[in-house]
Amino acid sequence: MNKVIIIHLNGIAYQLEEDGYEALRAYLDSASRRLEGNPDRDEIIADIEHSIADKFRGVLSANKTVVMTREVQDVIAEMGPVQDDAPAAAAPGRTASGGPAGPAAGSMPPPPAGGGSAPKRLFRIREGAKIGGVCNGLAAYFGADVTLVRVLFAIVGISFGAGILLYVALMIIVPWAETPADIAAAHGDPSTTDEIIRRAKEGYYAGLRSFRDPANRRQWKKQFKREMRQHRREFRDTMRRNLHDWRQQWHHHWNPDHPAHAGWWVAYPLLGLLSAVVSIVCVASVLSLILTGSIFGILLPFTFPFWLQIVFVILVFRLISWPLKAMRYGYYSNGPYYPHPFAHLLHTVVWLGVLVFGVWLLDRHSPQAHEVLIRCRHEFHEFLAQVRDWWARQ
């Protein structure tokens, strides 16, 4: 059972579902805010209410007296964001942070709901989406350039498979922004801090103008400055607290006081070497998949879309290297050199040296190994040539 709210539009009563009412109120509030300073604001709002009422009448009948939330959202979508042509309404900050999301953002209303402090919500945004609109939504949520978010995601996805899992999880969890209200909520205010500052300044100057008496004006100024200071201080404190918490968690996680394992100096660099090999094979497989559509001649046994195959390969390699990494981190935190940042670099170099020496020995003293190595080199050259070709074709 849903609560119904009765509203008056142009003197006629309509019954709306509660959520629908909220959406409508948010729309009208935002319209009224966007028309701030427009001499005809009240008239335009009345026109808009009039038109909404017309549309509501369209969905009602003798047997249906309540306007559903869905229908309210449809009507709002049909009305479109209220756009004032006055230059002041040209959404500040939008062009600066829009980036490739610009076309999507440009036609959308930034401030969604009343009060000016509408909470942003995370949505997936279909316009300009590449895969699932997750990066698009995140970019809108954080007010960042969508390309930057994509690059970050790609880096995280490749270097830690978790990025891909995260993307898939977000794709499942985060809803699409279906209505303009959703899209508005996804973008939030043009830029929350900018908006706060703008408002504060507006209030500040309006206050200044209204105080003819200098003493009064001074007092107003002082109060304004005090409020701004306090606001900044609170913000800084919150940031500091968050950073502190985060650091403590990190420390707690990575710095347990355990005695060193025996064999640490063998196991740790060896594991490092192994996971490096796995990583190299992973990159080579992905490249081979991109170039030839198969992994070194082995076709994947299913008909996934191409990008999903790449994701699959990376995931598989992540699964393989995960225990290696886990063991390695275990050794890392338990090693005698733990605090020394170059310890593991040194060991990797030593082990690489050992490996190169081993290969060199094999090459000299075993004809079979020599042959294999020659063939490997040949294959590698061919592979590189393929990569170069592919790149040239792009």
């Binding site: 142009n10 006629i12 319209a31 028309l35 427009n38 001499p39 005809d40 008239e43 335009i44 026109d47 808009i48 009039h50 038109s51 009422a53 017309d54 009448r57 049909e78 009305m79 479109g80 964001p81 209220v82 756009q83 004032d84 042509d85 076309p103 440009g106 036609s107 209303p109």
Partner: protein, 114 residues
Amino acid sequence: MSINDNFPAIRKGLLEFLVLKIVAAEKVYVANILAQLSGTEFATQEGTLYPLLSKMRREELVDYEWKESEAGPPRKYYLLTAKGREQLRETNDYWQKISETVKSLGQVPAENSK
């Protein structure tokens, strides 16, 4: 990116001109204007149109009168003022000039390059 995304400013700027044209032909209310624009490159919504119309009325390009509708409450019908007609004529001329320019520019070099 479609070609449409390249010209939001042009579409926005031309909207007033088109509304003038539509209003010049007959007395219309907002739903008429929207219907005529829908399906064109200039399809728009009430949220854009009402503020635009109110601006045009402030500039005395259009005026409106209330008219009873067959069903429901009265509607605002918009009509062109003398000033609006003048503006429409000027804009029309200007538009002709622009489209001439667009057509004529680049003709000669294009043939040279062949």
